[in-house]
């Protein structure tokens, strides 16, 4: 087989031809840079590509067609909630009043955006069951760091200086332990119970006067609701520690479980997962953090405030000395939050609850189809939430075909692969998250493909092991890429032309 679809493209640098100019901006006066002192000047202009608009546009359009995306097909990437990205969101973010507003514009000329941000905060407060929200963090991991720094500040404000431990289940996202380290704390990894849930006894044994926080993903990274969470949270608070909830899986619990009501103290929300802001090929996201009242004094600065007269303003520099400080420049990824606002308003309370119902229904339906086929191991057979784990462990033992091979073969069927080899605690794991916006026909087609690949592993394992066969490229030499990194194009000398003026 050979690729029949879009072809790989030459580098932008190879399209360059010395002397091509685009005239996108006027020419400056010839003396424009005369006052620039010699010691600060660039000696040689940067060797950027010289391409015209048609060549550049074709280059990027052709490149785009090498991508699988939600707009082109099913994307059941577990833990990432690759749901539909509504087009009205993109329209909204591009309204000039939103897009062209300078981040340091005085409050008086930014009332529309400030009101929008304030309303997003109010909605997220209700959804999370918490008391206050910061919209500043730029992504989920950034929110984690924000939350853990607030917890650290809270303990220190009480003279409680010895709380250095963060308890994290071994099934957690790698961002959780990495966050603890960035916050100057120590990760204590707790093994999951055999049923995939938290091991209450192990947690209780590790909790004590040095515990700063526990970080819990609920539902867990195995797609299971942590039914012992109530007892765990009591134990956490009994030793004076606080509970952080990783909100990566919020899509499974909207309107069914409010972390703040249940006893969590802090959580982050991934707008690019739950609230449909696009993933952008890796980002941007936004990672708002919701906290209970006692942590509100430590929220990053500046907060958006509503004055008694109904006007909105940002906190002034230094206005709230208890704050952990800034987590980023300016107020936040407002353009992302405009999109989230559109989505939240579109759905309202009842619509958000329906999202969760349909997401969980889709995951259980798909899981049921795979379980009934017997093609894959289903390590946790009960009801799942918005995602579930299937494993190729038996297939591997029988045929030598691994989860990686199955993932690659799915690409030939026109599907993106699930998240593979995560969580680390399950052998040959595939974490499958269909989301609420995929039809029963798509779910069936995906199940059929997975089942067919499992059969193919028995009948023709080499086809699976050498997949993909119809993607723009075959499997890549990742070892060579890491041993001899080539991380930038190196233009040959003479490839650039000095500016004539």
């Amino acid at each position: 087989m050979s690729a029949s679809g879009p072809r790989m493209q030459p580098s932008l640098f190879e399209l360059s031809k010395p002397g091509r100019r685009s005239d996108k901006v006027p020419h400056p006066p010839s003396d424009a840079l005369d006052r620039l002192p010699a010691e600060h000047r660039r000696e040689r202009p940067p060797a950027l590509p010289e391409v015209n608009e048609p060549d550049a546009v074709r280059h990027f359009v052709n490149l785009s067609q090498l991508n699988h995306a939600v707009d082109t097909g099913f994307y059941p990437l577990g833990s990432c909630t690759m749901k539909w990205n509504p087009k009205v969101n993109e329209w909204a973010a591009r309204l000039p009043g939103f897009a062209q507003l300078h981040p340091m514009a005085p409050d008086a000329v930014a009332q529309g955006t400030l009101q929008l941000l304030w309303e997003v905060e109010q909605i997220l407060i209700e959804v999370s069951g918490m008391d206050a929200v910061t919209l500043q963090p730029a992504a989920g991991a950034h929110g984690e760091l924000t939350g853990i720094l607030m917890i650290r500040a809270y303990h220190r404000s009480r003279g409680d200086m010895d709380r250095t431990d963060v308890l994290v289940p071994d099934s957690a996202h790698g961002t959780n332990p990495a966050t603890a380290t960035m916050a100057g704390l120590r990760t204590v990894s707790i093994k999951a119970a055999p049923d995939g849930g938290i091991d209450l006894d192990a947690f209780k044994a590790a909790l004590g006067p040095t515990t700063a926080a526990v970080m819990i993903t609920n539902p867990s990274t195995m797609g299971l609701f942590e039914s012992r969470i109530g007892e765990l949270l009591e134990a956490v608070h009994a030793v004076g520690a606080l509970a952080y909830m990783d909100g990566a899986n919020l899509n499974a619990i909207l309107g069914r479980f409010k972390p703040g009501e249940a006893g969590f103290d802090v959580m982050h929300i991934n707008t690019h997962k739950t609230f449909s802001t696009p993933h952008g090929g890796g980002g941007p996201g936004a990672g708002p953090v919701a906290v209970v009242e006692q942590l509100a004094p430590f929220l990053p600065a500046p907060r958006v405030l509503r004055e008694p007269d109904g006007r909105f303003r940002l906190e002034a520099v230094g206005e709230r000395p208890t704050s952990i400080g800034r987590m980023r420049s300016f107020v936040g990824s407002t353009g992302v939050l405009v999109r989230a606002y559109a989505y939240l308003r579109t759905h309202g309370g009842s619509g958000l609850a329906e999202i969760t119902d349909d997401a969980v229904l889709a995951a259980n339906y798909l899981k049921g189809r795979l379980a009934a086929s017997g093609a894959y191991d289903i390590p946790f057979p009960g009801v799942c939430k918005h995602e579930f784990i299937a494993s190729a462990s038996s297939i591997k033992k029988r045929t030598g075909v691994r989860t990686l091979d199955i993932a690659k073969r799915l690409l030939d069927h026109g599907f993106h692969a699930p998240t593979v080899y995560f969580p680390l605690t399950v052998d040959e794991a595939m974490l499958i998250e269909p989301t609420e916006t995929e039809s029963i026909e798509t779910l069936d087609a995906f199940a059929d493909a997975l089942i067919a690949i499992a059969q193919e592993a028995d009948t023709d394992p080499d086809v699976v092991k050498t997949a993909p066969h119809t993607a723009p490229v075959r499997r890549l030499d990742e070892v060579g890429a890491a041993r001899n990194p080539n991380l930038r194009w190196r233009p040959a000398l003479g490839d650039w032309t000095p500016c004539p003026d």
């Binding site: 990742e478 070892v479 041993r483």
Partner: protein, 126 residues
């Protein structure tokens, strides 16, 4: 293939003691578990390392592992070939894939390590 003349840690390092000099590397088992090694981070000569403390890192594409010192001592040589040929750790872990040489500060430490039989037993269980 576990050479009989070496000593081992439970973390899969080997050590060959020759007078007061110890040569240290990782076992074939460890190299196999990691997969294709792409990078080895080793201490500079002159540094002192402590028994069972980390002295470096070995990376493959999808995994990373700390290196634990089988014995304490001063690093007197580092295998410079690994910078350009990290694959030697996979192809010849007990030979050209050696990592560091150490002037041993307490030769009695070796007695507490696993011998070949004990190490083979350990990896057979894994």
């Amino acid at each position: 293939m576990v050479p009989a003349d070496l000593h081992y840690t439970k973390d899969h390092e080997w050590v060959r003691v020759d007078g007061d000099t110890a040569t240290i590397g990782v076992t074939d088992f460890a190299a196999h578990q990691l997969g294709d090694v792409v990078f080895v981070d080793l201490p500079a000569t002159g540094r002192t390392i402590e028994q069972f403390a980390t002295f470096g890192v070995v990376e493959s594409v999808k995994a990373v592992s700390d290196l634990y010192a089988p014995v304490s001592g001063e690093v007197v040589a580092v295998n410079g070939d690994l910078a350009s040929q990290p694959e030697l750790v996979n192809s010849d872990p007990f030979g050209k894939g050696w990592m560091i040489r150490v002037r041993v500060s307490d030769s009695a430490q070796v007695d507490g390590l696993l011998d070949a039989a004990a190490y083979e037993h350990l990896t057979a269980e894994a």
